[in-house]
Symmetry: C2
Subunit: 433 residues, 2 copies
């Protein structure tokens, strides 16, 4: 049974803090194994990747078979049905349109001193995207990672996907094709991350690696960070729904279950200003759990980490929401836009009862890779910015240097950095001659 | 003696790769010590911080003395001379003006399906800035970290600075005052990072920690990452100067030395299309090294990691520059703006011979916290973006859900996520009744 809390209860604060602090994930410590795999791939390249693939994916390949050929991709995606293809195409189009609007502008200006200043954005040259294989292979994640990279202007985008026993999801290959991915490799695990970061004879190294993965993949991403850029290391998924009594309890129950079914460690929270509505939603969850395909997983998540919190009013709901800083926040209230002004810390907000969170997972347009574990306090979901970097630009005229150089010289002296000051002074002296 | 390379030499590629791969920093492994310090501060709060401060900074404090009072700050900054104060004020004003232009825009639109989409930027609520004490205490770094935070709208900005034997640099306190810093604490090392991340009775926890520090500070930042956001872990400083023969060798020598004097692990590189000019710069470096205050440090850096590379033409220079992806790039050539179009991967570019890199360290306006160790291939310098996060917004109408919901349902089915599909289907069915 999930936790039922009420802000009127004397022990509310303690129980809420316990809920916030609940450890939902036991990451196995695989760092030593992963370090060995990375060292092996760095030392032996393709040979190591092929051995590890034979071992973990039960797949014997030659180096020439590591990469999917265009013909292999064509054959696989030809098996995708028309409805699935149309759905992926609609999703790709909407994700592309949303992310195209995120492209930042360059800027340049000349200030009163005569100094010309500005910045310029440029894309990462090469990026790698890890796609999990087996059960949790999500074509939607391919779209959500690959499209922002291509919109940003990444020239070379490579995917690695494990193909246990040679099996691959044709929808993953179709999503890659629709996203403009350049290369797809049959590799998974830490060996895929190592190959992307350091390169092998067959797989050229990239500059940035994104995408979800298991504990081995996460540990490998941490280890190669610095050599390449990485995206966030995502934790289990979360949703907070704030709903008043004028909602269908079954709809809200399904929204809670759509996070819970991801993972036994997922967390679904409901905040309502009506205790009876909260009970009705909990009852609707129980009813849906009788028949849901993934009821084992969703039931465990709801039982261990679910909560229904009754508040006095929606201001209180907003304050609690900001302390939770949820990955997904659904506002099913009379004035969702108004309430959203108060809920500052959230990865993605879904406004109103006709915006179930699942829309955002697939076809809304915004990214579904979002900050988990309260990190929406300080970080953002995936975007084109993750595949861009900014170079600052400065150009002094002799007059500008004369105007601001002496201050630089003074500060350099105060920091005992003589050469810094001299590099300015030598130029200033040339102007006075 | 630095390395002299020429792209015409048969062994150039091997020697250039060796130069790129040179390990410049031996980070001592202090992770175990740091883990203990963090655990101690989490468990005992102020008491642990005070004990560690007495031990490492030889400073006996009560909890009430951890924070600088306004009066203490007033007294200290009254000792700053007029020239230094004016220089810091000019720097603060220019840094503020530059970073104010970086503020990103919110956006919102309604698309053809009737879906309203967008995003909203908001500031991190509380940030902490680590400022090193002792020799390497740089007031300019306070400005460069604190001003972007305040421009972004961070409500609460706390500084921690160790004060060995009670000593503090008044310029650091003045820089904090000019930047609008809210709280300044006499704490350093891993204990400062732990206090900022987890909070103590006196120091409230923050959401994001930035700022440079020694190996203990860097290890502590890595450990608290996830609980809070952190900025990059910076490596030793680097400069690449691309200069043709129409430059004063002494100016270029001083620019190279202004990086070399930071640290024995710093790296200063010159690329020129004129071998004789390269020799002249090397001679000018040697001459300046005879008298430079920090000649021990700068000399070691130049000897161990410096290089002069002669190229055939500036196209070749640009190509090498992109492989180096330098933190600082100075273009002292006839057409620096033109060359900058080709040098894509760099933290900051300084255009023309009147823009010594030292201008950017202090008063140019752009940030001096920049990506090192080739990470300009995938990351950017510090900016207001480091203190902001983006929340995506979606609102469907019934019509929009009818238009795009079926595609979400199809994709949810293909990913075996039944509740996702049902959360959309339940709403769609209500429209058909």
């Amino acid at each position: 049974m999930p936790v039922f809390l009420n802000t009127r209860d004397a022990d509310f604060e303690n129980r809420f803090v316990a809920l916030l602090g609940a450890k939902r994930e036991d990451s196995p410590d695989v760092d030593a194994v992963v370090a060995d795999i990375i060292a092996d791939v760095r030392a032996r390249g393709d040979a190591a990747v092929l051995e590890l693939t034979a071992k973990f994916d039960r797949l014997a390949l030659e180096a020439s078979g590591l990469r999917f050929s265009d013909a292999e991709i064509d054959t696989a995606i030809a098996t995708v049905g028309a409805e699935d293809r149309a759905a992926l195409e609609l999703a790709a189009e909407r994700i592309r349109a949303y992310h195209a609007r995120q492209m930042p502008q360059d800027d340049q200006w000349t200030d009163a001193s005569g100094a010309t200043l500005g910045w310029r954005w440029s894309a990462v040259s090469a990026a790698g995207l890890y796609v999990p294989g087996g059960l949790a292979t999500y074509p939607s994640s391919v779209l959500m990672n690959a499209i922002p990279a291509k919109v940003a202007g990444v020239d070379r985008l490579a995917i690695t996907v494990p193909t246990p026993d040679g099996e691959v999801n044709p929808l993953v290959l179709l999503a890659a094709r629709l996203s403009g991915v350049d290369e797809v490799y049959r590799v998974g695990g830490a060996q895929a991350i190592a190959a992307l970061a350091y390169g092998t004879e067959t797989i050229a190294p990239v500059d940035k690696i994104t995408g979800p993965g298991n504990a081995f993949v996460a540990a490998a991403k941490r280890r190669v960070f610095g050599k390449v850029g990485i995206d966030m290391i995502a934790g289990p998924s979360e949703i907070l729904v704030i709903a008043d009594k004028d909602n269908n309890p079954d709809w809200i129950a399904l929204d809670l279950l759509s996070q819970a079914e991801h993972d036994e460690s997922a967390q679904s929270l409901l905040i309502t200003d009506d205790a009876a509505f909260g009970q009705a939603v909990a009852a609707a969850v129980d009813k849906r759990l009788e028949t849901l395909e993934r009821r084992e997983i969703a039931g465990a998540s709801w039982r261990d980490f679910g909560a229904v919190i009754t508040v006095q009013d929606l201001d209180e709901a907003a304050a609690l929401s900001n302390r939770i800083a949820p990955e997904h926040l659904e506002l099913c209230v009379a004035d969702p836009v108004g309430l959203s002004q108060q809920t500052i810390h959230a990865g993605a907000i879904f406004l109103g009862q006709f915006t179930p969170e699942a829309i955002g997972d697939y076809v809304g347009g915004p990214n579904h890779v979002l900050p988990t574990a309260r990190s929406a306090r300080f970080s953002s979901g995936l975007s084109v910015m993750d595949f861009l970097k900014r170079t600052t630009l400065s150009q002094m005229t002799p007059e500008a240097l004369a105007a601001i150089g002496p201050a630089a010289e003074a500060l350099a002296k105060s920091e005992s950095l003589e050469a810094h000051g001299l590099s300015v002074r030598a130029r200033l002296d040339s102007l006075n001659r």
